[in-house]
């Protein structure tokens, strides 16, 4: 049910291209398109279309000329860059300069140019792909030559007629005017836009329907008026005005969007409506999102503190300098040099100048390379996450995608998870399980049995495959079938009886063994009773038709049954396709084009195409070519496929839609044809229902815009005239079709929808919903009541329920409704609202036919994942659109709700209730962790009200899990927003469908599941996962690592810079606060950029505090990141204090060692630099938890680099590098024993306190993470024992005989944090 919710606010963003034309004749609200061929020259002044953008796209940001200014301008948007440039420029002012101006520019220029080169490269890639796309070919009608000629895409203009062939990419948004398809249809695949691989039908504009001959552009003389370009893929409104003055409405069904691929249609002709940047695809194409992570926000606060520290230090030095100057009075000492002009500066003036000088000297305190380093480390982290094999899904050949590059560390700090249910926790592979028709339940036991057996088979088969067997799936199924039936059927039955907890257990068992794409959802074993009835019924109907009796004589229960199946078959938007159709005739050029397009618009496009191929086609290949299937490599598979299609006659289409009603010959031929048909649905439950109906021989054979062909047993193919389709939307929660019944010739409305909605619309509307009243009600009411009863049962089994209803309209009623409906359809303004009201008018007084129960299986490992995420201290809320009972049962199945915990159900909208529950919670503080809250949409809408949201949150907070059912997409995002803003917590939203998009966008981290429901959620997300269970490793391992690495690196950066700068600060006390530095300016400037840069990058990228295994087995360690324990505000200050201490040591040991000696300024400064480098590296060493060869190498490299650079620099030029002029300094130092003695003692003395503290902490009060590391070091078997013990241990009092003290601490810690006390059973607080 993937439908775009209308609250998309993204439309406001018009591209620059659209705004450029300011001299528009008038500010129309619509766009008028004339055909170009009516005017002589496409580019002439007279062309009314000349104001519209042409089809040339340009996604590059820069041109050769504008690159430098524009790129610099963009880079200066980052405040830090402005600051550094300002400081570098300050150096050019002679009175304040501290360094050689050119040298001071070096780091800034370096940083800016690195970014500029990166930008340039990206822009060049964009330019190349633009060029390729602009130079693709398409056929455009030329008036001069009176035929279609090949043109480049970029030459296509609005108003051009273009001819499209099968498998071609659409160059622009095109209004479909003609199609070679006899039904005036055109199929497109929209994978590049939304990732959905199912085919969609587009129709020729209505007024061009009845063209008997080929469309001739020269005869076209209509004018199209439509809305302005916008980015809403699911909306297109306008009308076409013919010369005769007739107006015809245009819908999105008439528009072919740029980037889609034409399928199943040999040729189509259309007129370009939007081109180039104004196409919907391009308007939707906005770049990656930029988010700022929590850690970075925290870091910015500390950068701000650094600025304050800097200013304080500068101010201190300035005042000191003023006083120093003042003490000499007018008698200037010989070493106080006058200004170059020979004038004497007053102490105050020179203090002011010095303040600026000191800002330059101390600039290193604001780490210039920090931002660059963080970006580098994040890119590396993203790379490693991408490379993780555990996050790779074999089935779909997809792995995790990081779409937002800069919030990896947020993954380690999540506190709340908001999850969608369908498709996220469950497979979203719908399987028809049970149904109720006319109040009679058909339990489909055989089907259930067979399903259970499939699961058995799948696990069996996996074993087979792993042992080298190449048996195709179906073979293995049949060969094992008989052996297993009895055993499995018994166990399934026994499970079925024992309510929800058993169901939960069963679901978790099932979820382990189900393969992702098994044929089970297509093959349904019909319930024998029902099958009999269907046969009976249809044969009766056949008989009646034969004797031309009116159909109304059919017994009502039988007619209900046949109507039920007709409704299942018709009431949907399923597209029928057969493998014979040229859908997958993938040619190489075509896929190449798609690849290029994918680069600009949808990155994952190609992947998805492949997914589609593997999923849809390969199983069929397997069945046809047993033996060689699994040995095929992908390219050969493709080519085989192409051949296969070519060999087969392309007459499938005609066969299926042949006008001759085929006689019902018997099963053999029928089965043969059945195998060829495939149903492609927008939502999987639609397909499940159609497949279910097919199992009862009531199969959908073809769907055209105005008719549906259904094959019924005994009756053969029947064609239902399709009058209207009122599509599904999330507010109505139902869809309807209006058809003319071919047998009764009645106008019938079939409605399918959520039971809560349908039940309210059943005639008579006052039907009571309480079960016990049933006995006193009439027969039809009894059916309703019984159905409701079964619906409740289905929901209790965790099945998704749908109600099917119908309504027969009299001709007059229909005419009346039709009139108003047509008015609504042609309206341009407010059409949606009018159509909505029109639908409401139709869907009343329905007659209930029956209900279905569809199973949506849990994904693999969902209960385990939820359990371990829960252990990790994450609050998990499930927000679903499903009905309450279903949701509750799924929640039990996936261990979200515990049978032992108390369930708080809020179903009535009243403030009193919230208060009552709040009171209840507060009165029983001990139960706090064992509450589960279930709230439905109506109550939720109420609870989200401003006045009540605080109370709602208070209740929700004290519950262990929260389940919101029947919630709309908007409500989902409101809940997330509420929790995020009010509780100030980090939120993660995970979902797979379009209805989760708003929630994903609102949350701090949005995760999309690239599952069944297209790619909209993935497009909006920051991370895209193939399966839900990968969330566990993503958060617990990668999140933890990323957070701890980055937090440690940032802290280290602050420390490093502060320590280095403080050295110079101490020196000011000994140089009259004159801003002098004993460290050579080259060292000073390149210290951060070169000498100490690599080890921290390596550590920031590779350091692992705890191993992945332990992190996953002890999810409790995740709390570390949630509480920001690696980087707390006080840690910044502790680091600063440590930095100042270490710099004191590094300064004063050389100071005293060289006191009153003949050492000169830079010969004294060089050892200090060296000591600082050693100390900084050693500090990093104490903070590094895992030493790989890369860590060793980077440290060795840093030291070697420093000495090499120093030696070369000191030997290079005897008369350069004023003022330090360090000729031969390092060489001389290396000959002095004193230098080595200093290098030995200083780093050790500097790091002594930190090292001692770490050692004490490691023994006396180790953090859980440290305990985890100790656990890591134990031999594998002991560790396994302990961990398995921990699973048992959690919840029980601490065992006094635990062998390890540190582990005993761990357990006590675990217990303290995750107290799970055995509690009483469910108590319904209110109902």
């Amino acid at each position: 049910m993937a439908r775009h919710s209308e609250e998309d606010a993204g439309m406001a963003k018009a591209p620059p291209a659209a705004r450029q034309r300011k001299k528009k004749p008038k500010e129309n609200k619509t766009r008028t398109v004339h055909a170009n061929i009516l005017h002589d020259c496409a580019k002439g002044e007279e062309n009314p279309n000349r104001h519209y953008a042409n089809n040339k796209i340009k996604t590059t940001k820069y041109t050769v000329l504008s690159f430098l200014p524009k790129n610099l301008f963009e880079q200066f948007h980052r405040f830090a860059n402005v600051y550094f440039v300002f400081i570098a420029l300050l150096n050019f002012v002679p009175v304040v300069n501290a360094f050689q101006p050119e040298l001071a520019l070096a780091p800034v220029v370096f940083i800016l140019s690195v970014t500029a080169i990166k930008d340039l490269w990206e822009d060049y890639r964009r330019h190349r792909s633009d060029k390729e796309i602009n130079h693709m070919d398409c056929l455009v009608y030329s008036r001069a030559e009176r035929r279609y000629v090949e043109k480049y895409w970029k030459e296509v203009r609005v108003g051009d007629f273009i001819r499209l062939r099968c498998n071609e990419l659409l160059p622009a948004d095109v209004l479909l005017l003609s199609s070679s398809d006899p039904d005036r249809l055109c199929h497109i695949e929209t994978a590049t836009l939304d990732g959905e691989t199912n085919l969609k039908q587009r129709q020729v504009v209505r007024s061009f329907y009845d063209l008997d001959c080929e469309f001739d552009p020269l005869k076209y003389n209509s004018i199209i008026e439509c809305e302005k370009p916008n980015n809403d893929l699911n909306r297109f409104r306008g009308y076409i005005i013919h010369r005769s003055g007739r107006r015809d409405a245009l819908y999105k069904e008439n528009l072919l969007l740029r980037g889609c691929t034409i399928r199943n249609t040999e040729e189509a002709v259309g007129i370009v409506i939007y081109a180039g940047h104004e196409t919907k695809a391009m308007l939707n194409n906005n770049g990656p999102r930029y988010k700022r992570s929590k850690l970075e926000r925290q870091m910015n606060v500390d950068v701000f503190w650094c600025v304050i520290i800097l200013l304080v230090m500068c101010l201190f030095a300035a005042v000191g300098h003023g006083l120093w100057m003042f003490q000499y009075g007018d008698n200037r000492p010989v070493f106080d040099v006058l200004s170059p002009e020979g004038t004497n500066l007053s102490p105050i003036m020179s203090a002011i100048y010095l303040f600026l000088t000191m800002i330059i000297v101390f600039q290193v305190l604001i780490p210039i390379s920090l931002f660059v380093s963080i970006e580098i480390v994040k890119i590396c982290q993203v790379y490693f996450i991408h490379q993780d094999m555990d996050l790779y899904d074999e089935e779909t050949d997809s792995h995790l995608q990081c779409r937002a590059l800069n919030i990896t560390e947020d993954l380690g700090q999540m506190q709340y998870i908001f999850s969608d249910k369908t498709g996220t926790l469950t497979e979203n592979k719908m399987v028809f399980r049970r149904c109720t028709v006319a109040g009679v339940e058909y339990s489909h036991d055989a089907n259930a049995r067979r399903l259970a057996m499939y699961q058995e088979m799948d696990s069996e088969e996996e074993e087979c495959m792993s042992h080298g067997g190449t048996l195709p799936r179906r073979d293995s199924v049949t060969s094992h079938q008989s052996a297993r039936v009895v055993l499995r059927s018994q166990s399934t039955k026994s499970h079925r009886r024992t309510g929800s907890r058993a169901e939960a257990k069963r679901a978790s068992i099932l979820s382990k063994h189900t393969a992702f794409s098994s044929p089970m959802e297509k093959d349904i074993t019909p319930d024998p009773k029902l099958l009999d009835k269907v046969n009976d019924c249809s044969s009766q109907m056949d008989f009646m038709r034969f004797h031309s009796q009116p159909m109304s004589q059919l017994p009502s229960d039988l007619s209900d049954i046949i109507d039920f199946f007709i409704a299942l078959t018709i009431c949907n938007t399923v597209v029928v396709s057969s493998p014979n159709q040229p859908r997958h005739k993938v040619t190489l050029t075509c896929s190449g084009q798609k690849h290029q397009f994918g680069q600009t618009s949808v990155r994952s496009k190609r992947d998805h195409l492949w997914t589609g191929l593997h999923n849809d086609v390969l199983p069929q290949l397997h069945s046809r070519l047993p033996g060689c299937s699994s040995l095929l490599s992908s390219p050969s598979a493709e080519s085989t496929l192409t051949k296969l299609h070519e060999e087969q006659p392309s007459g499938g289409l005609e066969q299926v839609f042949s006008p001759i009603p085929p006689s019902y010959d018997g099963k053999a031929s029928w089965n043969l044809e059945e195998g060829e048909l495939r149903y492609e649905a927008e939502s999987p439950d639609e397909a499940a229902l159609v497949y279910a109906a097919r199992a009862y021989k009531c199969s959908l054979v073809g769907r055209l815009p105005d008719q549906v062909i259904v094959e019924l047993p005994h009756l053969g193919k029947l064609s239902f005239e399709l009058l209207h389709t009122l599509g599904f939307d999330s507010t109505r929660k139902r869809m309807s079709v209006v058809v003319r019944h071919p047998l009764t010739d009645q106008i019938t409305v079939y409605t399918k929808g959520a039971d809560s909605v349908i039940m309210d619309l059943i005639k008579p509307p006052d039907t009571a919903r309480k079960f016990h009243l049933c006995l006193f009600l009439s027969f039809s009411k009894k059916i309703v009541c019984r159905t409701q009863h079964y619906l409740n049962l289905y929901a209790a089994d965790g099945l998704r329920t749908l109600c099917i209803a119908k309504k027969i309209l009299s001709k007059e009623e229909y005419a009346c409704w039709l009139q108003r409906h047509l008015a609504a359809e042609t309206a341009i303004q407010g059409r949606e609202e009018l159509l909505f009201e029109s639908a409401l008018r139709l869907e009343t007084n329905l007659h209930l036919l029956g209900a279905t129960g569809i199973e949506d299986r849990l994904q693999d490992g969902v209960p385990e994942t939820i359990a371990s995420l829960r252990k990790a201290g994450l609050q998990i809320w499930v927000l679903t659109g499903d009905k309450q009972e279903t949701a509750v049962n799924i929640a039990y199945a996936c261990k979200l709700l515990d049978p032992e915990e108390e369930l708080l159900t809020l179903n009535e909208a009243c403030a009193l209730l919230l208060e009552e529950s709040l009171h209840y919670i507060q009165s029983t503080p001990f139960l706090v962790h064992r509450l589960g809250l279930v709230i439905d949409g109506r109550t939720l809408a109420y609870a989200l009200d401003k006045s009540l949201e605080d109370k709602f949150l208070a209740v929700a907070r004290s519950c262990r899990s929260v389940l919101c059912c029947r919630s709309t997409p908007l409500q989902k995002s409101m809940v997330v927003k509420l929790v995020r803003n009010k509780l100030k917590v980090m939120t993660l939203a995970i979902g797979d469908g379009a209805n989760d998009v708003s929630m994903i966008q609102v949350a701090d981290v949005g995760v999309g599941i690239s599952g069944q429901e297209g790619m909209q959620a993935v497009m909006a997300s920051d991370f895209a996962l193939p399966r839900f269970r990968y969330l566990q490793k993503l958060l617990l391992v990668h999140g933890h690592w990323c957070y701890s690495r980055l937090a440690n690196m940032i802290l280290y950066f602050f420390y490093k810079n502060a320590m280095f700068v403080a050295l110079i600060f101490w020196y000011q006390f000994y140089c009259g606060f004159s801003g002098s530095a004993m460290i050579d300016q080259w060292y000073l400037i390149f210290f951060n950029l070169m000498f100490s840069a690599f080890p921290q990058l390596i550590t920031g990228t590779l350091d692992k505090d705890v191993s992945a295994e332990t992190l996953q087995q002890l999810p409790q360690l995740y709390v570390n990141g949630q509480n920001s324990e690696e980087y707390k505000p006080y840690m910044f200050w502790m680091n600063m204090i440590d930095a100042f201490y270490q710099s004191l040591v590094c300064f004063f040991i050389p100071y005293f060692a060289y006191a009153d000696s003949d050492v000169d300024l830079f010969t004294w400064g060089t050892p200090i630099t060296t000591l600082a480098l050693f100390t900084i590296l050693l500090h990093l060493g104490t903070e590094t938890k895992t030493w790989t060869w890369m860590n060793w190498m980077s440290i060795a490299f840093s030291i070697a680099l420093f000495f090499t650079v120093a030696l070369c620099y000191n030997a290079s030029c005897p008369a350069c590098y004023s003022p330090s002029n360090p000729y031969w300094t390092m060489q001389r130092l290396l000959q002095e024993p004193l230098f080595y003695l200093l290098c030995f003692i200083t780093p050790i003395a500097a790091l002594l306190p930190r090292f001692f503290y770490r050692a004490c902490q490691g023994t006396l009060f180790p953090s859980p993470v440290q305990l985890g590391r100790q656990l890591d070091k134990l031999p594998a078997d002991i560790r396994r024992n302990i961990l398995s013990l921990s699973r048992v241990k959690v919840g029980s009092p601490l065992c006094p005989k635990l062998p390890f003290l540190s582990l005993a601490k761990l357990w006590s810690w675990l217990d303290a944090h995750f107290l799970l006390v055995a509690g009483s059973g469910n108590i319904e607080v209110c109902f």
Binding site: V334, S1074, I1149, I1241, G1258, L1260
Partner: protein, 368 residues
């Protein structure tokens, strides 16, 4: 030093995916390498009292002997220091100090007697020391032209901007330019040994070999290469304002004159701290039997030219022998002893902690 163990998790690091068709169809599967799966073999030290303890003891045991050695070495160095600033009325230089300024051309001489209690055996280094003299002032440090000092003719005629305002006088370039050169120390110190028999024997002071070799031979060059006639070379330049003699009259020895005068070179190496000493002369040990400076009375004769009273500076003359680790400085020895003792003490503390809180953990590890 610390608990170390290489985790052996990379065993499965290079297993290639094999099996029927498994790996070939999956083109996007990440590679299973130790690096990409973040399983590089690694040393994982855990800092606890038990593991860190030996490191502390080892450091203590190494540092304390080194410290003692350094301390003893430093104490064996003989050093004698005499302050001749003359701001005290009793000082022989009081008169000179009182009425002296940069403008005086006539030098004032003062005679300071002193006594050495010990004989100085090896070569004796004679330093002059200045206090409160900020040679490290930022603008002072910059005020020089290295290329002029390196003998560049162009820089000689047109000194660098950095030398301002000591670059030129009346449009004539100053050689050597800049504030450092301008403020060069120009006291002359002479040493006499008062023989017990009453005669005053002048002591031979060597004025070469006091600068860095690289400075004397590479960094500092007279303009015009080996042109012996320095007067001609420096034609057209003027002496620094505070100097009494032009640069080419600093010494009579042509190898120690002009820019390569060693007193000048030594001065140009700006001191790191406001209290500093600079090597002035070396008293070579001339025969193996007699000490270089025997015990007894000496006289220091000072040509008092250098005013320091305006900034409350002090001037000293220092006689010192040196060892392999330089001049007399007990600090490093004390520092080593202190750090070593602290480490040792902390080691003991850790031992206690370890025994009290960590040993059960340890023994349990062994018993399992």
């Amino acid at each position: 030093m610390m608990a170390s163990s290489y985790s052996a998790k990379d065993e499965d690091g290079h297993i290639t995916v094999s099996g029927p068709g498994g790996g070939t169809l999956r083109n996007k599967k990440p590679e299973n390498t130790a690096f990409k799966q973040q399983r590089l073999p690694a040393w994982q030290p855990i800092l606890t009292a038990g593991t860190v303890l030996p490191a502390f003891f080892i450091i203590g045991l190494i540092f304390i002997p080194i410290g003692i050695g350094l301390y003893v070495t430093s104490n064996n160095i003989k050093e004698f220091e005499i302050d001749y600033t003359g701001d005290d009325t009793s000082s022989p230089c009081y008169n000179c100090a009182q009425n002296f300024s940069w403008n005086n051309t006539k030098s004032c001489t003062c005679i300071i007697p002193f006594q050495l209690d010990q004989p100085y055996e090896s070569n004796v280094f004679m330093y002059y020391g200045l206090s409160n003299f900020y040679q490290n002032h930022r603008r002072y440090v910059k005020s020089r032209d290295d290329s002029q000092l390196n003998g560049n003719i162009d820089s000689l005629k047109k000194p660098s901007k950095e030398c301002e305002p000591y670059a030129s006088v009346d449009n004539k370039p100053i050689a050597p330019c800049g504030a450092i050169a301008n403020s060069m120390f120009n006291d002359t110190l002479k040493l006499f040994y008062n023989d017990p028999n009453g005669t005053s024997v002048p002591i031979l002071l060597t004025s070469t070999g006091i600068a860095w070799w690289t400075d004397k031979h590479v960094k500092f060059r007279n303009p015009g290469g080996n042109n012996a006639n320095l007067t001609a070379v420096f034609q057209g330049t003027v002496k620094p304002v505070n100097w009494h003699r032009p640069v080419y009259e600093l010494d009579t020895d042509p190898e120690n004159n002009g820019f390569i005068n060693e007193d000048f070179i030594v001065w140009m190496r700006t001191a790191a701290l406001p209290t500093f000493r600079k090597l002035y002369r070396i008293i070579q040990k001339n025969n193996n039997m007699a000490p270089t400076l025997p015990r007894g009375n000496y006289t220091l004769v000072v040509d008092y030219n250098y005013p320091v009273r305006s900034f409350e500076g002090r001037k000293r003359m220092i006689l010192s022998t040196i060892s392999w680790m330089g001049g007399k400085n007990p600090f490093l020895g004390i520092a080593y002893i202190t750090v070593g003792s602290v480490c040792f003490f902390l080691g003991v503390v850790l031992l206690v902690i370890h025994h009290k809180y960590g040993n059960r953990n340890n023994s349990a590890n062994i018993s399992n």
